[in-house]
Structures are given as C-alpha cells and as structure tokens.
C-alpha cells in the first residue's frame, strides 16, 4: 500500500486543493484501508486505495456541508484584504519556470470535479478506463464521455488563456 502513497497524495491534493487537508485525507484513507473497511476485491491495490481516498473525501465534504454556518473557502478568499505580496512582481527566474505549471494548475482547478478527476487518473496516474470506472463509481461509457468533455474543456481554456494573456517575446 505504501508504494502508492505518492499517488494517493497527488489525488488527494487535487480533490481537496489544499495540502493540510490532503495530509489528513490520506492518513484517514490509509487507516480505513488497513482496517479493511472497504474490502479489496480483485487485485488492483492502487485503484482500490484511490477509491477509498475518494470516498473519504466525499464523506468529509458531506460533514462540512452539514455545518451550514461555516463559510465556503471561496467566500473567505474574497473577504480577505488584498495581500501586498501578490502585487509585487516575482523574480524572473522563478516565474519563468513556474509559469506553465501555474497556468495549467489554474485551468485544471477551474474544471468541475468529475472532469478533473478523470483527467488526473488517466493522464497522471495512467489508469485504464476500467480502473477509472471503479474509482469514480460510474460506468465505463460515462468515463469515456467525461474524459472527452474534460479534455475538450481544458483545450478550449488553454487556447483562451493563451490568447487572453500577452506573452513575453521569446
């Protein structure tokens, strides 16, 4: 199971969009896996583990939604005063290397979760349709159509962001 810790962590980061939450989620998932709450059927440990991560995340979300008074993360962000740091231009060396990744990360983050997760599982974790279907709990046909829509959406946004933001002369 521990060989898949990195995969579980990557997946958790994308689900929670925050590192501390991802840490908790991964630990909770490993405990659940270890206790055998979700029995391992078939033989694919990685898919089984990621399924548990996803289920844990879903139940955490449900718990949070029940506590209705807690503001959503987006609202908190908006309410916070503009940070000084954000307006300071970054040193060139760091910004060039990180630029591509930040654009992609931003675009991916804006996709709906069901699109984001199939893309992650397919392109980063290199899982088959059957495995993705097992993790996300939908039919293979749904995996295929979601994947197609997710890829199209990402492509469209990438082109959009390319056109919208003036690029440095190379």
């Amino acid at each position: 199971m521990l060989p898949y810790l990195d995969a579980a962590y990557r997946f958790a980061r994308w689900l929670t969009r925050s590192s501390p939450d991802a840490d908790d989620l991964v630990q909770e998932s490993f405990l659940r896996a270890f206790r055998g709450f979700d029995g391992l059927r078939g033989g694919d440990v990685k898919a089984w583990l990621l399924t548990i991560v996803r289920n844990c995340h879903a139940s955490t979300l449900r718990q949070q939604q029940r506590r209705a008074t807690v503001p959503l993360p987006e609202e908190l962000e908006e309410a916070a005063p503009e940070g000084v740091v954000a307006t300071v231009p970054e040193p060139e060396s760091a910004s060039l290397a990180a630029e591509g990744e930040r654009t992609l990360a931003r675009l991916l983050a804006r996709l709906p979760q069901e699109h984001r997760e199939v893309l992650m599982l397919r392109e980063i974790e290199d899982m088959s349709y059957r495995e993705i279907a097992a993790v996300t709990g939908v039919a293979i046909g749904t995996v295929m159509s979601r994947l197609a829509r997710a890829r199209a959406a990402l492509r469209a946004r990438y082109l959009e962001s390319d056109a919208g933001e003036p690029r440095a002369v190379r």
């Binding site: 521990l2 060989p3 991964v26 033989g43 591509g100």
Partner: protein, 261 residues
Amino acid sequence: MQCADSLRVQAYFDGEVDAVSALDIERHIEHCAECRALLLDLERTREQIRGEFDYGRAPAALRARITRALAREPQPAASRRGSAASALWRMRPFWAGAVGGVGTALAAVLAFLLVSAVPSAALRDEVTDAHVRALMSGHLTDVVSTDQHTVKPWFAGRADVSPAVADFAAQGYVLIGGRADYIDRQRAAVLVYRHGAHIVDVFAWAAGGHALAAATTRTGYHLVSWRVGDLEYCAVSDAGWEELAALERLLRERATLDTAH
C-alpha cells in the same frame, strides 16, 4: 457537429481498443479530417498535462505520520485472505523498504508479518532449486503450447492438481507450456511463462502443512506465492517484484473465474 467516431478515436488514443478495432480506426482517421485534428489535440493535451504537471511526492513527514499511525493499529486478522491485511502482506518487500528508518514501526510491522504465516524455508529452497534446475537443463517444458486448452488437460494424470491455466500474451506474459515437477512430496503442475527476457515458472500444488511466505527471495530469485482454495501457487523468476505481482493478479482472477463456473 462532432464526428460520431470521436469516442472511438479517443479510446484508440488511450490504448483501450484491440488490434482489429485499431486498424479500423486508423482507416477512419485517414479519411476524416476532424478525427485527425482530434487525435492531434489529444496528443497535445496529454503532452501539456504530463509535461507541466507537478508530480509532487508525499512529504516525508506525512509518510512518517502514516507509518506511525498504522503501527498503532491493532493487527487485522491474518486469516482474512483477500482482505486489506493480506494485500499488505503481499506487498511486504516494498512495505518493509518504505518503513525503513522508523525503527519501532518497522519492528512492529515485521513482527506481525513474520508471525502471520509460517514460511517454510525448505519449501522455498525446493521451489527455487526446481526452477534453476529446469533452466540449467534447458528442460523447461514437457508440453509446449500457448493454448490453455492443451496445457490444462495435459496435467491430468501427470500432476496431482489441475491449476488455473491461461495465456496472458496481451498483458506481456506469454504461456510457453507446462511441466510436471516434484514439490512438497507431490507431483506439482508448473506453468511456464515468458515475460520479456525472463522465464517465470508458476508452481501449483495441493496446499498442505507448509506455507510459503507471500513474497521472498532466494539467491537472487524472487518468489511470490498465494493460495486459491486448496491450491498453493508460487511464481519464481528473476523478473522484478512488480512483474510477478502482476502475473499473480492475472492468475488469481482466472482462478476465481474457474471456481465460479
């Protein structure tokens, strides 16, 4: 308007179609400009994601935290084969390596692993020797066939057991034949697979008093063993752990199917 074949093109791109469909789709792509463009887009998107994605590794602190938490857990019942506990058990070499450096946790985990099955060193040696002897003499197979329907009946009368037999050429494990051998004082059936440059012998015999450790090493050979019903299986090879584990998965699935019918 999107071409009706776009999902098939995507499946082709993702390596999800068989050879016949692949040919069919390739022919279609030659004529359909839209699907040609789609294929190009799919490639670009993949390159972008894989090229720019931050393959962050789990922080060391988290790894340590989880190892500690797992060490505190009460041990799951060792008898529940096929459960999470036995998944951990089968992963022992990786697992043991990953927790290295966390002394107490390592000790706790290893203690659990060592007591949950009584591995027989003699049996391990016996299986490894049989494998090496077959390689040395060049007498790998008594029956040469990639056809499970030839190999399986061949065992009748020559071995005491009738194991699950299947060719997994599509997954990289080519069945090249079968052999009878003598393991644990009985006539064992041996399936012989070729995986790349490696030969994998899968021994099968009636499970008795002795059990093999789920994963073990002898003189550089790796042994992965598992049990389905009353049959003990052991795959031996100089191939890597992952490769043996993958073959185990395939054979387990096959054995489960066999018993279901």
